[in-house]
């Protein structure tokens, strides 16, 4: 099932070699360990650059949105 969401989430991420790598997300009071970061892309919203991370665990695909201005993470897509 493919869902479009816009849910604020908690994220544990590492900042390593000039890269941001999401490691674990907390959504709907449940923790999900990220096993793979499959793709990263950016998009412009006016002058602001938004970062998107396409990540997955063993059963779910998540698309995460990072707003660098407010340092907020959102879950914007779910596929399982």
């Amino acid at each position: 099932m493919h869902e479009f969401l816009n849910d604020q989430i908690d994220v544990i991420a590492s900042f390593c070699q000039n890269r941001v790598i999401p490691k674990r997300i907390r959504w709907n009071e449940r923790d999900y360990d990220i096993l793979n970061v499959n793709l990263m892309h950016t998009a412009r919203e006016g002058q602001k650059r938004i970062f998107y991370f396409s990540v997955s665990d063993n059963t779910n695909y998540f698309k995460l949105k990072l707003d660098p201005e407010y340092l907020e993470w959102h879950l914007v897509e779910l596929y399982n």
Binding site: L39, A43, R44, E45, G46, Q47, Y61, Y79
Partner: protein, 405 residues
């Protein structure tokens, strides 16, 4: 000195990017569609879907009929643009002559980078590995290497996915004779049929056909056909993006409609988008095209030229709507509306002598600044308050419609 041109064509591009992003789509037949999947077409089919007979531009219902297990997945243009910029920057590391032919195709003139075809093959392999490493292993490309753009493009079509095909100058004719006329970029079904009626079904026959007769039949295109049949093409790899020739938007409505107010709202929204893009590029348009497609897939396109070039959304809308209203067949519901501005030139809009119009112009500048700062949804006209551009698509969308996200 003979040129060495590389043509790089990404395989099932949009589908491959989605399969890279989402591992649960890998190995499955998927089709990338527009925002209303049931009314859309397949923009790209995955390699697995192509093997089952699904083709690009097929309607989604037809694709589902051929392959019921196919997963329809909405396209994500921003993601594709980003990946395109990633591999384009890789190409620019190897040569200054890079021509982007489309979002997933590029020509590279590597005549100054390599000395022979062997080096060109090594370079092509290096580029392929770099793309894999930077963008992901599911994003593959087919590469053609030849003495000109026409042949390089034909070469890249030969081995898909992930192939490298090389044809050097002395083998061009032999290679052409293994291809069908339709394989060549520039020969479509109509030209092929016209050639067939002249008894030309192969490149060998096309080469032997008198040039005079070809020119009589096809006018100046006859020269191009004659040169192509000999594998000749002098067109350079143009390394600048260049200014756009036209800027347009079209939108398939969530349901067919005969409601003129809905059509007007849609067209006004599209006009504002086109006008904003014109102003962002510092362009003005002398011509506007209005496009209507009916539910039965017939349609009309009309164009009108302005006396003064414009980048004003309301002017584009008024002109386009006048044309549509005049020609609209009210007995048929409308499926799609579109608008395109062309005959573009650099410059600003004509400054009116009238105070009211100057005020509107100045307001427009302020609104543009807001849009530049906060994005395209930062303001909207009061008449369009109940509608918005749907996320992840360039379309215009009413939140009350059944397919709203």
């Amino acid at each position: 000195m003979s040129r060495i041109i590389i043509h790089i064509d990404m395989n099932s591009y949009f589908a491959s990017v989605e399969q890279q992003a989402n591992p649960f789509l890998r190995g499955k037949p998927i089709g990338i569609t527009g925002k209303h999947q049931e009314r859309s077409v397949i923009a790209t089919a995955s390699i697995e879907a192509k093997k089952l007979g699904v083709k690009t531009a097929m309607s989604t219902w037809e694709a589902k009929r051929i392959c019921p297990s196919m997963i329809l997945y909405p396209g994500d243009p921003e993601k594709y643009s980003y990946i395109t910029s990633q591999f384009n920057s890789i190409f620019n590391e190897y040569t200054d002559y890079v021509e982007q032919f489309s979002i997933d195709e590029c020509f590279l003139d590597v005549s100054e980078t390599v000395t022979d075809y062997l080096e060109a093959i090594i370079l092509a392999q290096t580029i392929r590995e770099r793309i894999k490493k930077t963008c992901g292993e599911k994003i593959t490309c087919s590469i053609g290497i030849a003495p000109n753009k026409l042949m390089a493009k034909l070469c890249s079509e030969q081995v898909k996915p992930n192939g490298i095909t090389t044809v050097c100058k002395q083998n061009v004719l032999r290679f052409l004779d293994t291809c069908k006329l339709r394989d060549l970029c520039g020969i479509g079904s109509r030209i092929e049929n016209r050639l067939g009626s002249l008894g030309i079904n192969t490149f060998d026959q096309l080469r032997k056909f008198p040039l005079e007769n070809l020119v009589n039949e096809f006018k100046s295109y006859g020269h191009w056909l004659h040169e192509s049949a000999h594998g000749r093409d002098d067109s350079p790899v143009i390394n600048t993006c260049g200014d756009p020739k036209s800027i347009g938007h079209s939108y398939t409505l969530s349901e067919n409609t005969d409601d003129k107010n809905e059509m007007k709202n849609c067209l006004l929204g599209l006009s504002d988008r086109v006008a904003w893009r014109l102003r962002k590029e510092g362009l003005v348009a002398r011509c506007v095209h209005a496009i209507v497609r009916y539910a039965d897939f017939t349609g009309m396109t009309q164009q009108q030229t302005f006396t003064e070039p414009t980048s004003n959304g309301l002017t584009l809308f008024k002109t386009a709507w006048q044309m549509i209203e005049k020609w609209l067949d009210v007995s048929k519901p409308v499926r799609l509306l579109g608008l395109s501005a062309s005959t573009l030139s650099k410059g600003n809009e004509y400054q009116s002598l009238f105070k009211k119009e100057r005020k509107v112009h100045s307001l427009q500048k302020s609104l543009d600044k807001i849009q530049d700062r906060y994005g395209s949804d930062a303001w909207t006209r009061a008449s369009l308050i109940d509608a918005h551009f749907k996320e992840r698509s360039s379309g215009f969308h009413s939140p009350n419609s059944p397919s709203a996200v």
